[in-house]
């Protein structure tokens, strides 16, 4: 609670709000306790929850520091809001950036429209065709519509995370045909459920299926 028995003397001189020593040492004790917990937790493997546990404990510690050492608990509410806004906008920053980085290529149907090799984006013409052929051997005679746009080996994400998830979405189209807008329109018209034809320049994404679901 922000107790306002401090600071606002009529005469204008600032009157500090002094906490007892015990509050400081108790805070320190709590911080050391949580440090031990977080180190201890790192020796146990919780799988994907490892990161979550570490962040939650760190946030607890940070809250304690802010509330007591930084006096937020006893301070104007405004200052808590200021700190909270930093957290909010940081969360927006990280979350919205990860909307991109965590789902690249999920809707990309025509892999050939992307740079074949992210580490060499200016590779063009026949060299690019060669790279494409290496990725999708001619013998297979098909391009998976749901293949992720990110080239395996450049990013070490699993090769095709969504390929098995949505097998019905993958149709076969010859690479030449996929380049022309009319062909992609015919793919869409032929009722392949979630085939999203957003690769070619003229096809508006709004014409394709909504993202992912």
């Amino acid at each position: 609670m922000s107790s306002h028995d401090h600071g606002h003397a009529i005469g204008g001189d600032h009157v500090p709000h002094v906490l007892p020593y015990a509050a400081y040492f108790a805070t320190w004790g709590a911080l050391m306790f949580f440090t031990i917990i977080t180190v201890g937790a790192s020796y146990v493997n919780f799988g994907p929850a490892n990161l979550l546990i570490a962040v939650v404990i760190a946030t607890l510690k940070a809250t304690i520091v802010a509330a007591i050492f930084m006096h937020l608990w006893f301070d104007h509410r405004m200052h808590s809001m200021i700190l909270g806004s930093a957290g909010l906008f940081l969360a927006i920053f990280i979350a919205f950036t990860m909307f991109d980085t965590e789902s690249r290529g999920h809707l990309e149907s025509i892999t050939g429209e992307r740079p074949a090799d992210m580490s060499n984006p200016f590779l063009g013409g026949s060299a690019r065709q060669k790279a494409m052929n290496a990725l999708y051997p001619v013998g297979s005679n098909s391009v998976k519509l749901s293949a992720p746009g990110i080239v395996p080996g450049v990013f070490d994400v699993p090769a095709a995370p969504s390929a098995s998830a949505a097998p019905e979405a993958s149709a076969t189209v010859s690479p030449e045909a996929s380049a022309s807008a009319s062909a992609s329109a015919s793919v869409a018209a032929s009722g392949s459920t979630s085939a999203s034809v957003s690769g070619s320049v003229s096809a508006a994404p709004s014409a394709s299926a909504p993202p992912k679901h």
Binding site: G7, H8, A9, G11, G12, D13, H14, V15, P16, H17, V18, L19, Y21, Y24, F25, T27, W28, L31, M32, T35, T38, V39, A41, S42, N50, L51, A54, V55, I57, A58, K61, A62, V65, A66, I68, F69, M70, D75, H76, M78, H79, I82, L83, S85, A86, G87, F89, L90, F93, I94, T97, M98, T101, E102, F155, D156, V157
Partner: protein, 220 residues
């Protein structure tokens, strides 16, 4: 509590700046300014945290493998050092609030010593990494890694800890400045805004480390 000095002698050089009506208004403005500054600090570090989360998710195996090359013990020691320095900084502010000049100076000296201790440990860590070739980007020369992008982990590691270390160094300078002023008798219950401000900054340096330590050293 040791409110000993006479009221007339408290912060003799302090006067309310011409554009403020009261000392209270001046103090509140200063504190709000510091808090807004801390917001910019958080978002500044936030960019690196964003990069950390993205690359960790992309190169999970590399991050796990690379983080085993960080020294958990040194990291934990530094965590304790920084938390303790946060405590002494908070106590220094408290001492200024109750007009205890000797204790203010004493706690500030301990805080500075802790900051130097932190940097010494960091120095040994860096030396070890440089020796082993565990460096960012093109400078990564260590052998025997089975995952493809450990250099990215060390790019994030060196940027995060390097910028944090820079903040520790700046903090030492700031604490030294208020230490000298405290020694001169500038601060008292009437006027201690600079101690409070530097204190808030120092706690933020601690806060950032509270996140850096588990993310880099413990979960990779």
């Amino acid at each position: 509590m040791s409110a000993s000095a006479n009221d007339e002698k408290l912060s003799p050089d302090f006067h309310v700046a011409h554009h403020f009506d009261t000392a209270d208004q001046q103090f509140d403005s200063a504190r709000m300014g510091i808090w807004l500054f801390l917001v910019t600090e958080i978002l500044f570090f936030g960019g690196l945290f964003c990069a950390f989360f993205i690359y960790r998710s992309w190169y999970f195996s590399s991050f796990v493998e690379a983080h085993h090359h960080l020294d958990k013990v040194m990291g934990a020691v530094n965590t304790c050092v920084l938390i303790f320095s946060s405590l002494t900084m908070a106590l220094a502010v408290r001492s200024a609030q109750v007009n205890d000049k000797a204790k203010t100076v004493g706690f500030l000296i301990v805080t500075i010593l802790c900051a130097f201790g932190f940097l010494v440990v960091k120095y040994f860590e860096y030396q070890h990494k440089i020796h082993d070739g565990l460096l960012p980007g093109v400078h990564f020369t260590a052998q025997g890694f089975s995952s493809p992008h450990p250099g990215t982990f060390f790019a994030v590691y060196f940027m995060m800890t390097g910028i944090h270390g820079l903040h520790v160094i700046i903090g030492i300078g700031l604490i030294l400045w208020i230490l000298l002023r405290a020694q001169r008798g500038d601060f008292s219950a009437r006027y201690y805004a600079p101690v409070e401000g530097v204190g808030l900054y120092w706690h933020l340096v601690d806060l950032v480390w509270i996140y850096l330590f588990p993310l880099l050293y413990l979960v990779g």
